[in-house]
């Protein structure tokens, strides 16, 4: 098996000019560049360009080249074909990107066989990292975000809560982790509402919430029209004035702030990155990002891709540009660095991504823009999806 791989790779590499001194190391990013999620692809592309602008395009005597391939929707067969093409045809040493879990699963099987490191820029299911020894992730998982939000709710004397999530993987993960942490801390769950993914009319659901009179409403909806409709319905049902706190996660990401605006004011979310996070590194990144990709939006995907490429740079350095998946992964385990989002670390045992989670509230800044202001930090949160499962 390995012999076949090496032979095939030798044939492929023979077609790429071999410079024994300085060489080009390719990173293949599988991203949604077209279609409904093209915003993500654009942000990733801008992020990697910004990273290379700030940190240079070389590691030692190796030049890092980032190559993109379009995967606009969930299509595991296509994901696998693209990863294969990137490895065999482009000679990519590292695969990155991957927005959806099923696509990541297909690539994971490939990575395990080919021993190629894969850095996940988004797909957030906890169990993904178990599918291959060569997977890393620089995004987040829902349990990682949900547990601090539950803790925050308990701190604020929220006694009972209603959860309202979209009926799909991340939504259910969020519901489960939040509830376990909240109820475990003494809170009461009044009801768990699950809305079909295609729901665009949250009016009836909000009426139901109102009738239950909880102290807080914990929400998870994917970005775009669902979040838009949900937030509008929350306001229209008068839940804010009735004193029902809105607790969320990804609902106030930068693109939502721009699309929805005033309806989001006062909403509190627990998330790992805000474009207005006040650190020197982040400020420099936002500036560089605005220069290389003026039309792209600095959502959390900016931080994801930035950190992903950073880990790859580290792995290139550790292997001195040689193909050695095992050595690369070993160098990533335990690696800690300063990210635009704050301090981050890759757990040495489980490879999970450990980071701060911030409670933020949506406000208007002096120039009239809507921003997430971070006001409470939960430091170095692990992936609770693992710990909660382990303790069962």
């Amino acid at each position: 098996m390995t012999i076949k791989f090496v032979a095939a790779l030798a044939v492929s590499l023979a077609t790429i000019s071999f410079q024994s001194r300085a060489d080009v190391i390719k990173v293949g990013v599988i991203a949604p560049m077209s279609g409904p999620f093209s915003v993500v692809g654009q942000t990733w592309e801008g992020a990697t360009k910004a990273y290379q602008k700030l940190n240079g395009t070389t590691v030692g005597k190796h030049t890092i080249e980032v190559v993109y391939r379009d995967l606009p929707e969930i299509n595991p067969a296509q994901a696998k074909a693209l990863a294969q093409e990137l490895i065999l045809k482009e000679g990519a040493q590292y695969i990155a990107g991957l927005y959806f879990t099923p696509d990541t699963l297909a690539v994971a099987a490939l990575a395990q066989e080919a021993k190629v490191p894969v850095v996940i820029f988004n797909a957030s299911t906890s169990s993904l990292l178990d599918k291959s020894d060569f997977l890393l992730r620089t995004s987040y998982t829902l349990p990682q975000m949900a547990v601090p939000v539950a803790k925050y709710a308990l701190e604020k004397n929220v006694r009972n809560v209603v959860t309202l999530v979209s009926d799909f993987g991340p939504g259910l993960d969020a519901e489960k982790s939040f509830t376990t942490a909240f109820v475990g801390g003494g809170g009461k769950l009044l009801e768990a509402i699950r809305a079909p993914l295609k729901t665009t009319d949250f009016g009836p659901l909000m009426q139901r919430v109102k009738a239950l009179k909880p102290d807080a409403l914990y929400v998870f909806a994917p970005g775009g029209p669902s979040t838009y409709a949900l937030v509008k319905a929350y306001n229209e049902a008068g839940l804010r004035t009735a004193g029902v706190r809105f607790l969320g996660t990804a609902e106030t990401d930068e693109d939502q702030l721009r699309a929805i605006g005033p309806d989001l004011l006062g909403i509190e979310t627990g998330m790992f990155y805000s474009a207005t996070h006040n650190s020197a590194l982040n400020n420099a990144l936002i500036k560089a990002f605005g220069e290389v990709a003026p039309k792209a939006i600095p959502t959390v995907q900016l931080a994801n891709a930035y950190d992903g490429l950073h880990v790859i740079y580290r792995m290139v350095q550790a292997t001195d540009g040689q193909r050695d998946g095992v050595k690369a992964l070993a160098s990533a385990r335990g690696y800690a660095w300063e990210s635009p989002r704050g301090p981050v670390k890759i757990d040495p045992a489980s490879r999970e991504f450990v980071q701060n989670v911030y409670m933020r509230v949506v406000e208007k800044d002096p120039s009239g823009r809507f921003v997430n202001r971070e006001f409470r930090t939960f430091e170095m949160q692990p992936d609770y999806g693992r710990t909660q499962n382990a303790s069962k």
Binding site: S38, I74, A77, A79, Q84, T101, P102, A106, A109
Partner: protein, 337 residues
């Protein structure tokens, strides 16, 4: 002006030159081998083309030959994929077993849903096929413990083909597996279409009333065709799941059904070879366009669809036919076609 050319007499398959009979299959095989030699690094894409072609063939049979208006073929494709996944997870990792069971799964769903739906026609039928596919999708999403929900069904391994050839990420085995299945399915379907069974189906498409009047049982015949289509779609789904090692909800989605309809229209709805040609053309153009500029794919496919519909109503295969007819003309001087 229809895409249906005037009904012409289909010549009975001659026994004189059997290898000429097989020319479609031979071309497929040769092109497949050539592709392997020319594009060894694109085998992932080529494997997907082969599995999608099988899916397109199933739709070509159902829609192109029998005229059953369906925008829900993905339901059968996805069912096959999940059944193949469950087979590999719980029964046996043998690929052939998974493949056959996947086909069976597609066939079962087809016969069950078809029995209910096929009493209706045209728009009602289209809506019913969409609704059934949608319901199946909701059901699969709800039964997360069985299907993995929107995360997908994964973690299964496929045993070596015939115990000899392992499936590696290089896709050598995967590609020939899919190609072999494609050639075999094409052979079987072509024979089916040229048989009295297939001719009846075509007749039903053109005028169901007449067939009924002649004593044919339209409903049962359509159900049979739909079931065969379901089996083939299930085979395609099983192949996809086995070669990519993931089965997921999107395979049941409306846009998957719509996508394959576009593919057979591009190639030519009335011919089985059109289905394969359309799929290959669509996926090749998608691949090239994607690498050049992914942002404008929808413009390209939208324009292409409209242009083909206006300029080439018989699809790309029509172009090929015209070329062949033109090439043949000088030898048949004096004989009107």
């Amino acid at each position: 002006m229809n895409t249906v050319t005037a009904p012409r007499a289909v010549p009975a398959p001659s026994r004189a030159r059997p290898w000429m009979q097989l020319r479609g299959e031979l071309v497929l095989l040769l092109v497949g081998l050539l592709a392997f030699v020319l594009f060894p690094q694109d085998l992932g894409l080529l494997t997907n083309m082969a599995t999608m072609s099988i899916f397109a063939l199933s739709l070509s049979l159902v829609l192109g030959q029998a005229g059953i208006a369906t925008l829900g073929q993905a339901a059968l494709y996805g069912s096959g994929a999940y059944v193949a996944g469950w087979t590999a997870l719980y029964l046996t990792a043998d690929p052939i077993a998974g493949l056959l069971l996947g086909g069976l799964g597609g066939g079962v769903i087809a016969v069950l849903s078809g029995a209910v739906m096929l009493r209706s026609t045209k728009l009602t039928l289209v809506m019913l096929t969409i609704a059934v596919a949608q319901l199946l999708l909701e059901l699969a999403n709800w039964a997360r413990w069985l299907t993995g929900g929107d995360d997908g069904l994964a973690g299964f391994n496929i045993a070596p083909l015939f115990g000899i050839w392992e499936f590696s990420f290089l896709s050598y085995t995967g590609y020939f597996y899919a190609l072999g299945a494609l050639v075999l399915v094409y052979f079987l379907l072509r024979n089916l279409v040229e048989s009295p069974f297939g001719l009846t189906a075509k007749a039903i498409r053109q005028d169901p009333g007449r067939v009924q009047a002649l004593g044919g049982r339209v409903y049962l015949h359509l159900l049979a065709v739909y079931t065969v289509g379901g089996i083939v779609a299930g085979l395609a789904g099983a192949l996809t799941a086995q070669t990519s090692k993931v089965a997921n909800l999107f395979m049941l989605d409306f846009s998957t059904s719509a996508g394959v309809v576009v593919m057979i229209v591009l190639g030519g709805t009335r011919r089985l070879s059109g289905a394969v040609l359309g799929t290959v053309a669509y996926m090749t153009i998608h691949h090239i366009a994607s690498t050049l500029n992914p942002y404008h794919w929808l413009f390209i496919i939208g324009s292409m669809l409209i242009v083909v519909l206006i300029v080439l109503p018989e699809g790309l295969i029509g172009l090929f036919d015209r070329a062949v007819a033109y090439a043949r003309q000088p030898r048949r001087s004096g004989v009107a076609r």
